[in-house]
Symmetry: C2
Subunit: 555 residues, 2 copies
């Protein structure tokens, strides 16, 4: 194939039609560059699942083409799948200093640090990856050291915003490098891929700095101990808590595994500036008077195993809640977590604490751009083609509507699904074909060994429990020599439902006898006859459908 005929292929393997597990492959000829490698958290119906990671079959099949994984920032939905993907695809990983710092912790836990080729880059830098040149552009987001990317290809430039907001008064470092976006736009951009998370919100996202002002107001008035729960990765938020603590003469203790990890990495790399003597170990915390102490901790989402939840419910080994404590939950509920957070807030109030949360004060701002910021990016970049990323279908759709309203021809905007291929030349784009994509479920040590059938069984078991019917049969004669025994779990209180259980046993006996003729040689027919009989009778009596598990032992 002559070079002029080569196509550029953009292949999202995660992050489209969903929030989370962001990962996209850029392919040109014999070169593939992967941007981000995130995980997502299980949906409610994925019972017992710990994590969800993208299916990277396509990358593994094209292993020899993959030049690198390039990361935009250190959030779990952009880096969390690395320990799993790197096992199958050992390629260099590029990211900025803090991003790489956070990945090191993660890879160490998975014993992968020694075998991974981590490469630190700076915003402004451009790296060569086969046919691609990838340029890192400073942006602002709810984690420090976040970047957008300009991917220079033989057919044109792709601008990928990554996650971003436009914060004109960031806590640390520069504002977003809008000038570079403008410059690229002026020279001509083939494709824009832009964050859609907050597309439903009009106006602008407030600056991170506004949260610090609220902290100062709250700290100024507070006579007791202060606990602040927030996202561990939000180093700027943590910095602002520390600033307020210093301003009002308080010491700071950091609690919660991931908070301690991130704070240590951030201090080491210079992203968190803490004056000498302000930090106090958990062990020495009790020596500080309550009105001179701030505890920074995890658990802003009410996660059951988090430090704040354990502290709140009296399950933490070192810290408990006293009347007069002030607890600030500096976060928005991620959809699905509302009730968990409510539970913690209610318990804190019961223990006599004062609680400040989003409903009551401005103690959180989003890390994602709202409509006016997104419009600014479109206006500066002026892409030929546009593909919204990072969002459910409704976000992607509203983002393309916005692009069209701003003047893009509707045939130049593309809503993709994971696995679909956007094929580009220097002056055309179309959705053409697809590759394997999807989700891989992680449960304990198992990666991918739980799928739809297993989940369906878990759901069934969770709804009405289980009834096991066991009989022992003489193989030669087909005669039942023991049973049927009935064992149930998660069905009813057996002791208080003796009548019902006796009836079920009786039905099982009849079903076993009735099925006798059907059985010779093929237990599965006999089992399914028993199952059907029992199912109908139990449903009539209880309007429930427990899982029925007939077991035939042969002697």
């Amino acid at each position: 194939m002559s070079k002029s005929k080569k196509k550029l292929r953009v292949i999202p393997l995660g992050g489209l039609q969903e929030i989370g597990k962001n990962i996209t492959a850029f392919e040109y000829g014999d070169d593939i560059v992967v941007v981000d490698c995130g995980l997502s958290f299980p949906e409610d119906e994925m019972l017992g699942i710990d994590l969800v990671i993208p299916d990277v079959t396509y990358l593994v099949k094209n292993k020899e083409k993959v030049r690198a994984i390039v990361l935009t920032h250190g959030h779990e939905d952009h880096i969390g799948a690395l320990p799993y993907v790197l096992r199958e695809l050992n390629v260099p990983v590029y990211g900025t200093k803090l991003t790489i710092g956070l990945i090191k912790c993660k890879l160490e836990e998975h014993s992968l640090l020694d075998t991974t080729d981590l490469r630190t880059v700076c915003a402004g830098q451009t790296i060569d990856l086969g046919a691609f040149k990838v340029e890192f552009i400073h942006n602002t987001h709810s984690i420090a050291d976040s970047v957008s990317l300009a991917i220079h290809t033989p057919l044109g430039v792709i601008v990928h915003t990554g996650d971003f907001k436009i914060d004109y008064t960031p806590i640390q470092g520069e504002t977003m490098d809008l000038a570079r976006f403008a410059e690229l736009g002026k020279k001509g951009v083939l494709l824009l891929m832009c964050d859609s998370t907050n597309i439903e919100n009009e106006g602008y996202t407030m600056s991170e700095r506004t949260v610090g002002e609220t902290f100062n107001e709250i700290f100024a008035d507070c006579k007791g101990r202060i606990l602040v729960a927030t996202f561990a990765s939000n180093v700027h938020r943590v910095q602002q808590v520390i600033n307020s603590a210093v301003k009002y003469g308080r010491k700071v203790t950091v609690i919660g595994r991931s908070m301690v990890n991130v704070v240590n990495v951030a201090i080491e790399l210079g992203y968190l500036i803490i004056p000498e003597g302000v930090l106090v170990d958990m062990e020495n915390m009790d020596k500080i008077p309550p009105d001179k102490l701030v505890i920074i901790t995890t658990g802003s989402q009410g996660e059951t195993m988090s430090a704040l939840t354990r502290i709140t419910f009296g399950e933490h080994k070192k810290v408990e809640i006293y009347p007069g404590d002030l607890v600030i939950i500096s976060a928005s509920p991620i959809p699905g977590n509302e009730k968990l957070i409510s539970r913690v807030v209610n318990e804190l109030f019961k223990k006599g604490a004062k609680v400040v949360y989003e409903a009551l004060a401005d103690i959180h701002v989003s890390g994602h751009a709202c409509q006016e910021e997104i419009k600014l990016i479109h206006n500066l970049v002026k892409p030929k083609f546009f593909m919204p990323v990072h969002g459910e279908h409704r976000h992607l759709r509203q983002h393309t509507d916005l692009a069209i309203k701003m003047g893009m021809p509707s045939e130049n905007v593309f809503i993709l699904e994971n696995g679909k291929v956007l094929e580009l030349t220097h002056d055309s784009a179309k959705i053409n074909g697809s590759v394997t994509a999807g989700r891989v479920l992680v449960d304990g040590l198992g990666v991918g060994d739980v799928g739809n059938v297993v989940l369906r069984d878990r759901r069934h078991l969770s709804q009405d429990g289980l009834i096991v019917v066991v009989i022992t049969i003489e193989g030669d004669t087909g005669n039942v020599v023991a049973g049927p025994d009935i064992i149930s779990r998660g069905f009813v209180y057996v002791r208080e439902s003796e009548d019902l259980m006796d009836q079920i046993k009786e039905i099982a006996k009849q079903a076993v006898n009735k099925s006798a003729g059907k059985s010779r040689g093929d237990w599965s027919i006999r089992k399914s006859a028993i199952r059907e009989d029992l199912k109908d009778c139990i449903y009539q009596k209880t309007k429930r459908k427990p899982m029925i598990l007939p077991i035939i032992m042969e002697i």
Copy 2:
């Protein structure tokens, strides 16, 4: 006991420290009056549970004292437990016309209509119930015909707001009877019990009428079919959809069992005014051009079995979504339902519909009072004692804070829990003692036969599934004559995990052999030895903890 020494006892049996299942008993001497009789929906961890109803043991024990159940309005969290409670406590039920109309449907479904003594009252009316006189006071809420109560007792007046908002421009009927609240306040009120649902929100709740204005704007612009999903019980909302439909020359079809029920009751009783010829049967709907049709339906919470969800996912027998349809979801997500609603919205967008929901337009207002409205009630009623109702702990706490800020002595405000007793004389109040209270879980036909142990088993099964180990043993010798057989459900894909299952079988064999000595006569010891051995090995290999169910058959 002389009359002068009798105490007045207020006993919440539901609705405190929670949202839902509102029910309160008022007791004086030999008389008990019950206010409301609601249900709540199961928490996430109550797997397989359909409904939660209050534990009314105390009322059943004092059956002969209970004069009546008095209802404030027809929402499920105020009337939903009636069919269950009436079976144990057959007393007269009082409510306004629409409330009684809605209860009739419900009791008919439970075959309880003929045996229940339903009595319709009007706002303004007072009824004698033993020592109590209960006065019905018109208020405004998100359902028509809602009332507050003044309960006149020998020791003073109790004002119970029920659910309310202050809507100065209601869709139908009068504004809330604030004058009566003022009059009662002037004469002296012993105790105020006030709705706390929206205590976290500053300002005022907008009038229901503002939603109608948004409907008009949306209808004016729309060229295609319109579907509106809202709460079936919100008759005023339905009226406003119909008003907009009439204004823009559209016919209306009503879909969804509960929506059809409520609309029929509301038309019959005069709460819904629909001009002749506007309603069209579902059967004849297809004859109407899309731009002349509005469908009103249930499913505003994304409930999986609701009409809108089934229509959206192509599972409804008569209606499907076409490109160009406009779907209005006229509701706020109830906490916990956010993801269900998102799922429906995403699918609607995918099918090419336009979707208007709360994030995008003002198509919903709350039915509950915000801070300024609540302050007005406190100001008019000027109670001696105050007890916030209808709320989680955080709401109750913030409501008492507000009362204290408005001048009440802190010793006169009481946060109760369900089952606690507030004991009052004409000039004192204290929390004194408690009665049985709690929640009863309804699962299918079973009421109360599922409790903590059963739920714990369901949770266990839902997380990592189940492994059954069966052996058949010769009773005389204790020898294993068949098995161990291993059956798993909800654990792993068995076919793709043959190695693991073989290992587990091997471990089971060893465990069975190892436990042989321990068994004679007591299978439970042998079973628990097998369970422990398997549990440890499986956790080491998989980091999972399936339920392990050893079964020993004896021949």
